[in-house]
C-alpha cells in the first residue's frame, strides 16, 4: 500500500462490519459501498485499494493522510463536517430500532428511556443512544466496536435494543438474526444521507469523487449496484 503510483491508487478506508454496505467475503471487501467506490475509481482512472479500520479511526485516517477517502455508510453530519468534507450524498438512510423477537412495548426512541441500549462506536446510532441517556440518565448505553457485536449482545439478552442504520439492521434481522430479533417502529432521522468523506480542504480529491459518482450514476452502474445489494 505504500508505493506511490505507477497506476494511480485511490486509498480507501472502511469499517468492514456493515453488511450489505461493506463486509469481507473470501478475504475480499464486498458490498454496496465497495462496488461503488471501485466503480468511481475506475471511472476516474484510479485503482481502489481498500483497508479496514475501526469506525472511530476513519476520520483520523483521513486527517493523518493514511487514506484518500473513507466510505463506510457514513452519514453526512454537521459535527463531522468540521473535520472532513463529504461528497454529494449517494444513499438515503435512517435509523431504526431492533429488539428481541418477544419484546413488546418499544415503538420509538422515547420508549427506550431507562432501557439498556447499544450502538456502534462513533456512529449516529451511538449519538442517538447518548441523546436518550441525556433525557433519562437511567438509560444504560453500551458501545461496541462493530454493530455485529451489538446484535450479538441483543441476541443474548445483554441489552434491550440496538439503534443502527435501517438497511444494515434489516439485512441482519432477515438473515442471521431471523427468528431471534425484529425491527420495531419507524425509521427516524429519515433525512440522513451517506456521503464519501475526504480530508477537509482536499478539493482535488473531492472533485475526483464527485465527478466519479456522477459518472457512475449516469452510466446506470449505480442502479445496478443498488439492485445487487439492497433488498426492499
Amino acid at each position: 500500500a505504500d508505493n506511490q503510483d505507477q497506476e494511480k491508487v485511490l486509498r480507501v478506508v472502511t469499517e468492514a462490519g456493515f453488511k450489505p454496505f461493506e463486509f469481507k467475503e473470501n478475504n475480499e471487501f464486498v458490498g454496496f459501498d465497495m462496488d461503488l467506490i471501485r466503480a468511481i475509481a475506475e471511472a476516474e482512472g484510479y485503482k481502489a485499494e481498500i483497508t479496514h479500520m475501526g469506525f472511530e479511526s476513519l476520520i483520523p485516517a483521513l486527517q493523518s493522510n493514511k487514506a484518500d477517502c473513507a466510505i463506510a455508510g457514513m452519514s453526512i453530519d454537521e459535527e463531522r463536517k468540521k473535520s472532513v468534507d463529504f461528497s454529494t450524498p449517494y444513499f438515503n438512510a435512517g435509523l431504526i430500532i431492533a429488539v428481541q423477537k418477544d419484546t413488546e412495548g418499544i415503538k420509538s426512541p422515547d420508549d427506550l428511556k431507562g432501557k439498556r441500549i447499544a450502538g456502534q462506536v462513533g456512529t449516529i446510532g451511538a449519538d442517538a443512544c447518548n441523546d436518550i441517556k441525556k433525557q433519562d440518565p437511567n438509560t444504560t448505553v453500551k458501545i461496541f466496536d462493530s454493530v455485529g457485536e451489538a446484535f450479538m449482545e441483543l441476541e443474548k439478552g445483554g441489552i434491550d435494543a440496538v439503534i443502527n442504520d435501517y438497511a444494515v439492521t434489516y439485512e441482519y434481522i432477515s438473515t442471521t438474526g431471523q427468528g431471534k430479533t425484529k425491527i420495531v417502529g419507524d425509521v427516524f432521522s429519515a433525512d440522513d444521507q451517506y456521503g464519501i468523506a475526504v480530508k477537509k480542504g482536499n478539493k482535488q480529491m473531492l472533485n475526483v469523487i464527485n465527478d466519479g459518482l456522477e459518472k457512475v450514476k449516469a452510466s446506470g452502474k449505480y442502479d445496478e449496484i443498488y439492485q445487487k445489494w439492497i433488498k426492499q
Partner: protein
C-alpha cells in the same frame, strides 16, 4: 491544525501540542477518563484477587504430576490461557461461551475473563515460587516426620510468598494494561472512554497521549509500591 507539510516534524509537533482545542478537550473530559481509570483499577484488583485463588490451586496442581487428571487439567488450563490472546479469550467467552450459561453482564464477564487469564499466569508464578525454595527445606521438613502437606503449608508456602510477591506485582501491572481489552465488550473503563472521546474528537495525539499517561502513572505507582514491598521483604 495543519497537516500540509507532513515532513516538517518540528512545526507540526509544536502545532499539535499548542493546539488549544486538544488541551480543552482533555481538561473538560479528564474527569470522565479518571473515572474510567477507577473502573480499570477495580477490574484489575478483582481479576488478580480471583486469579490468585485460581493460581494457587492450579500452581499446586502443576507440582503433582503423579496425579494425572488434576495435572492434565491444570496443564490445559494454564497453556490455553497463556497461549491465546486475551483479546480472543474475551470475545470467545463473552459472545461464545458464557451465553450458554445464561446471561452474564459485561463487567462480570470481564472479571471472569481476566481472572481466568490472570489465574493461568499466577499459577506459573506460584509453581516457580515454590520450586525456588531450596529443596533442602522440604527434606528437612520430611526428615522431621512432617507430611508433604504439612511441610508445604508450614515451611514452603510461608517462604515462597516472598519469592512470589514481586512477579505477582508484575502480573498486577500486566493485568492493569490488559484490562484495556475489555473495552471490546463495552465495559466502560479507561480505554473505552478514551475511544469514545476519540470517536467524537478524532484527536489521536491528545486523547491517546492522555490515556497513555494515565496508564503510565498507574503502572508507575504500582511498580513503586512493588519496589517498596520488595525492599521490605528483603530486609525482613
Amino acid at each position: 491544525m495543519s497537516h500540509v507539510m507532513p515532513g516538517l516534524f518540528g512545526i507540526n509537533f509544536i502545532q499539535t501540542l499548542m493546539e488549544i482545542n486538544g488541551l480543552k478537550l482533555i481538561t473538560s473530559n479528564l474527569d470522565v477518563l479518571l473515572l474510567g481509570a477507577l473502573v480499570t483499577l477495580e477490574l484489575t484488583a478483582l481479576a488478580v484477587a480471583f486469579g490468585m485463588i485460581l493460581g494457587l490451586i492450579f500452581g499446586l496442581a502443576k507440582l503433582s504430576p503423579q496425579r494425572r487428571l488434576i495435572y492434565g487439567i491444570a496443564t490445559f488450563y494454564i497453556d490455553f490461557f497463556r497461549g491465546t490472546p486475551l483479546f480472543v479469550q474475551i470475545l470467545l467467552l463473552y459472545f461464545g461461551i458464557l451465553p450458554m450459561f445464561g446471561h452474564v453482564g459485561d463487567f462480570s464477564a470481564a472479571v471472569i475473563a481476566c481472572s481466568l487469564n490472570s489465574g493461568a499466569y499466577i499459577a506459573e508464578i506460584v509453581r516457580a515460587g515454590i520450586q525456588a525454595i531450596d529443596k533442602g527445606q522440604m527434606e528437612a521438613g520430611r526428615s522431621l516426620g512432617m507430611t508433604h502437606g504439612q511441610t508445604m503449608w508450614y515451611i514452603i508456602l510461608p517462604q515462597a510468598y516472598k519469592v512470589v510477591i514481586p512477579p505477582l506485582i508484575n502480573e498486577f501491572i500486566a493485568m492493569l494494561k490488559d484490562t484495556s481489552l475489555v473495552s471490546l465488550i463495552g465495559v466502560s473503563e479507561l480505554t473505552l472512554r478514551g475511544k469514545l472521546l476519540y470517536s467524537v474528537s478524532y484527536n489521536a495525539a491528545w486523547v491517546w497521549g492522555t490515556v497513555a499517561i494515565i496508564y503510565f502513572i498507574m503502572t508507575k505507582l504500582l511498580a513503586m509500591l512493588g519496589d517498596y514491598v520488595e525492599r521490605r521483604l528483603a530486609t525482613e
